[in-house]
Symmetry: C2
């Protein structure tokens, strides 16, 4: 059997069993945005790695090397942020075809450096090697988080509200426009959405506020696709969920793409990842307090999109018609491309 | 200009300038076996990453997946060991073609797990993604070292003696036998040397002894090629070196390969890397003490192969004839393959 037949998640489960060791210094291993390790008396060390592979995670004709360098770093920053942590140190492993232009790599590094400076990250080293295929970029990011601010995927409890910090579906809509250039949308909308895909914003400040507030119970970044990412919270927390379709913050631009595609905007919002906002759960009595605090400090509206249910009640999506349908996790999976042929930033921790 | 024209080391220097930031928590960045980071009051955190790319760093027809999993981990363990550190946590990033057999990956993980257990390492997570080319493996390894045991490449001083823990050239000789199957050597020699290439031994215990002794001034692992690795110590320490060819511990097996190739065994020993022993410097008055201590505890003979000179005296190789010739660093460089077309484990920190 090959990996495409088995599928990504069953493969990860098998590998987890092979490496599954008990170690008191490993607080959280496979299954969250980053691994959590024992560190100082008050902090945990966080560690995560993510890949950008040519023609799978990025298209050389679409992205500038500077955008790519920025993006390769920020998707990792997003993982550390989603744990409530402060990213600190990056290791960069590059495999490059011999014909790669030196200016390309320099621009890539400048983009990475800019994003690193913005996030308070220092690039500490790495590895460069030759590639026989395309460009392959792996960035490992280390960070730290005070014990009391650590937020896992596994903390959601029935009754909690589910919130997102950002509009969902913009990045994925941008990607649709890349692959379907004849879709009839406003040129400014086109440019804006494609840039949303190429230059994701990471909510490091909001993540830190949410973690420090002590009011959130679980957090994840929206990378695989909103429905998938919610599914990760449900699976790790052992809970169900009810999402209200009408509450999803979908931009008019994404709706324009959905209309042009003759697809429900809901699908772009639920299937699409790459937005790199935060999805988190909060005890119901604390929602208003946290919403207000974030809005006051960042001017940002965070939106309640659903509520956590006991696991036996399952995962549901409430449509505008009030009809409830099963919520399927239809985001990106490697080896199976469940949402099309488009290159996506899908990732899954092994 | 492309990377092949520029060459690996000038490329790294350019990238170093782009990312070159001052950060008080980064004790040692680019230019050693691992990055050294501020950690607890008594320890440093060490971090390193290394790649195994199909048909560059490994040949799928030659290595079993179990051997490869072991090797991919131990080359990183070797880097942490060469800093005097104890490796702790590994992150594994895999890019796999969709046709990769699940049993292949499982075997790879079993090999990695075995090596991890042996070195006291826990695999804490990682990333798995699809590859359009071959298999690409990146392992990031974290470790820790007490402040007083840290050994850098940069500590060698004129007058120090240069020592190695292991025979040099065996692994490279094994690789020559892979690429030149008609070379006339004893079948047992063939099998032994190829295994030495595929299953490198890491000298974690010896490295720890050397570091704890407080008698060594610099250390590196023999990975790029002995002459290259010595060159790294000289460059980082700002010193020259004199190597005595007759003192190099070359095995009768490697000599048999050299004879069959009609090449001086010296070349296999100096150019070849992949042996993963340790090369280190010691104040002359402490050499005997450290040699005895290591031999007593591990039964292992460590060999003096040269001495450190003031930088203005340069880098020299003393032949059997007593003739001195310039010591060139002729080990592996990516993009230029200075020692042939053979896949090698060459690496260079960026």
């Amino acid at each position: 059997m090959n990996v495409a037949d088995l599928g990504e998640f069953p493969l990860i489960e098998r590998l987890r069993q092979i490496i599954g060791v008990n170690c008191p210094d490993l607080i959280v291993g496979i299954g969250d945005d980053a691994a959590v390790l024992a560190d100082g008396p008050d902090t945990y060390l966080l560690a995560t790695v993510d890949s950008h592979i040519e023609n799978i995670h990025f298209l050389p004709f679409l992205t500038t090397p500077r955008q790519l360098g920025r993006r390769a770093l920020v998707v990792n920053v997003s993982d550390i942020a989603a744990m409530g942590g402060q990213p600190q140190f990056a290791l960069v492993s590059l495999a490059l075809p011999a014909y790669t232009q030196v200016t390309w790599i320099e621009e890539f590094y400048k983009g990475m450096r800019g994003a690193a400076d913005q996030a308070g990250v220092v690039v500490i080293g790495g590895n460069v090697t030759r590639s026989l295929g395309g460009i392959n970029i792996d960035i490992t990011l280390l960070g730290r988080v005070p014990h009391e601010h650590l937020l896992l995927r596994s903390g959601a409890r029935p009754g909690d509200k589910l919130l997102v910090t950002d509009r969902v579906g913009d990045a994925f809509s941008g990607l649709q426009l890349v692959f379907n250039p004849r879709l009839a949308v406003d040129p400014i909308v086109r440019e804006t959405l494609i840039t949303r895909y190429l230059e994701p914003e990471v909510r490091l400040r909001e993540a830190s506020m949410i973690a420090r507030s002590g009011l959130a119970t679980a957090m994840i970044d929206v990378s695989d696709g909103l429905s998938s990412d919610i599914g990760h919270i449900c699976q790790q927390s052992g809970v169900g969920v009810r999402i209200w379709a009408d509450h999803l913050p979908i931009s008019p631009s994404a709706r324009q793409v959905a209309d042009a595609m003759q697809t429900p905007a809901l699908r772009l919002a639920l299937d699409g990842g790459d937005d790199y906002g935060l999805c988190f759960t909060v005890r119901p009595e604390s929602v208003a307090q946290l919403q207000n605090a974030i809005e006051q400090e960042t001017g940002k509206t965070v939106t309640v999109i659903g509520e956590i249910l006991p696991i036996e009640q399952g995962n549901w999506l409430v449509l505008s018609s009030n009809q409830e349908i099963p919520l399927e996790s239809t985001g990106w999976q490697h080896f199976q491309s469940t949402n099309g042929q488009s290159p996506r930033d899908g990732k899954q921790r092994v």
